[in-house]
Assembly symmetry: C2
């Protein structure tokens, strides 16, 4: 259940409704949305919407932008988000590269920087490098916070890293708090696959409330969006997809197990048999779709990008066959959209999520 455990008072109620309206304004994009439509969609009275949008306009977060055609009376006024009213920074710390982006309230990329990074260096030096990139992008703008995405495992709630694969000295380092203190900004930390999935969840072209993002690069991982929200699990460990067993007693995997999807996929890719890799991935995807009843499967990662069509076709074939067998409707399998900074952009969305009321709790 996606629920709040804390009591609510008038300011909380006000934030809740304002976030709801802002989320609709964001979804409306350039087209805008009228006050009455906001009222219908939120269930609030038109008068309440007028008050809320009035406050947003006073803040500078929303603005009037034209009118619709009349339907026999006074035409509706169109309201739009003012994306430049605030910004967020997203950082993607990868093994050998640091990607930093600045996005506006609408999530649009405003600036980006990429520099080499040695994740094996001392934590303090990495923090300093990350902070420098963030500051270089800020440029006097109103920045709400900084989102950081990196390879797991880590703990989203406490902002502490665990044993980052290959870099044992990161274990237990409180990256979120260290960066927050250095920058004087709110900082949010999450796994790279989660950030990527969040970024996809908020793209206008991904209209799915629930989906799985499967990332096949040097490893295989997943980001899960369930009911519009990231599912992180109890210890930010959710999305461990690569080491699902699909072939008992199968070939050995680096993890110590046998018949893991990752091992089967990567071996097939290494052999050049992309169709076989896609089928293995499809079996895991079909398991996942059946278990969670999601709306879509999105594929990404370097290995997928190298032969998108074969992967999409192969995964789709397995998922579709399994759905038909179970009498369920088939769900779409697509390649994930997104450019070279998609993970960093998703990280920036970690900052924007609470602004638009899409946090795991309805009341902050």
């Amino acid at each position: 259940m996606n629920r709040s455990n804390t009591g609510a008072n008038l300011p909380a109620l006000r934030n809740h409704n304002a976030a709801l309206v802002l989320d609709l304004l964001r979804a409306a994009g350039e087209e805008g949305i009228s006050r009455l439509e906001l009222a219908e969609r939120t269930g609030l009275t038109p008068q309440a919407v007028s008050k809320i949008t009035g406050r947003l306009r006073d803040e500078g977060t929303a603005t009037e932008a034209g009118r619709r055609a009349s339907t026999g009376g006074k035409p509706r006024t169109v309201l739009k988000l003012v994306p430049s009213a605030a910004h967020a920074i997203g950082l993607h710390l990868d093994r050998d590269e640091l990607s930093a982006v600045l996005v506006d309230l609408a999530g649009t990329l405003v600036g980006a920087r990429t520099v080499p990074l040695d994740l094996g260096a001392e934590p303090a030096r990495v923090v300093e490098a990350a902070a420098a990139e963030a500051e270089a992008l800020t440029g006097g703008r109103r920045v709400l916070g900084v989102g950081v995405a990196m390879p797991g495992p880590l703990d989203h709630d406490s902002g502490v890293l665990h044993r980052v694969t290959g870099f044992p000295h990161w274990s237990g380092f409180p990256l979120r708090d260290a960066l927050a203190e250095r920058l004087g900004q709110k900082v949010f930390l999450d796994k790279d696959t989660n950030a990527a999935a969040l970024g996809l969840a908020l793209r206008a072209d991904t209209r799915a409330e629930s989906f799985a993002y499967l990332h096949l690069g040097s490893g295989l991982g997943a980001g899960l969006v369930l009911g519009g929200a990231l599912h992180r699990g109890a210890r930010t460990g959710a999305g461990e997809f690569g080491h699902q067993t699909i072939l008992l007693g199968g070939p050995a995997c680096g993890c110590g197990g046998r018949g893991c999807i990752e091992a089967l996929c990567l071996a097939s890719v290494a052999r050049g048999d992309i169709a076989a890799a896609a089928r293995f991935l499809g079996v895991g995807a079909a398991n996942l779709v059946g278990l969670l009843d999601i709306d879509a499967v999105l594929l990404g990662g370097r290995k997928v990008a190298a032969d998108e069509e074969t992967f999409v076709r192969g995964v789709n074939a397995v998922v579709e066959e399994r759905a038909l067998r179970g009498g369920a409707p088939a769900i779409p399998v697509r390649a994930a959209a997104g450019g070279p900074h998609s993970v960093a952009e998703g990280a920036a969305q970690l900052v924007l999520v609470p602004v638009f009321g899409r946090a795991n709790v309805a009341y902050p």
Copy 2:
């Protein structure tokens, strides 16, 4: 993200806070809880808690029950839920049996009836039989609604059945609305595995925010509780666990696939090799634990009950080994508690969930 899509006003805020307090009162059980502790746990001010509990006492839902020892000042007054203030009915429609229970606000079993049922009969007759059982249990008490659990597939949101396996004439029947009209009560419909999981989620001895309930009977299914709420998926299809592939190219399953957990498990059970069945179940459980990062795995169903210890031990061994391999803490694997009416009791909880604010949306 577990979030509300609708606007909130003062009555909604009041309901939200009252439900929060009621939930804490329920969790406190016979021991009770003081006003100040309620204030700490909810984040509300003591005065707000006094007002809310005052209203609950006026309604008859809560009552004062003794005091704690003094800590140097006026001793705290203990408040308790009055379980008999309202009741809920739960119905479990199984293939050959109808189990009906009456539970109080605390979820305690107050009455139960079991009669034979032919799920293959005409829907109208089944509705009538269900309604008669519900009425026989009511007995002039204040009943908040009726929860119905039955084998899927079905749609929880619309309350309509799909092609119930083996009973094609149920397809498309609006069971929820038919029963609601016949009884003049609110009715909630869900899958049997979901009801069982919900019942477990609300038992005092299951202290897990997120867990999977794996049910091995004539088939194999799962109920998922994530972050304290049932995860039903987009079409109430979540929990399709039996037909997860764990052995590519394995033995054929009745579903048309190969190497499904269900087929492997049931074949082992039929051979009398319970340890092997447990290992197969364990592989599926380990996949699930890794994917969702849950806190516990609970096992139930007739086949499990026949040799609980072997199943728990076998599943635990696989789950534990996988967790250690991934560097994650091991999570408990246990047999699900619950008596002969546990599914019907969980169905009754479908009615109580909104009362205690544990619905999927924070604001109803």
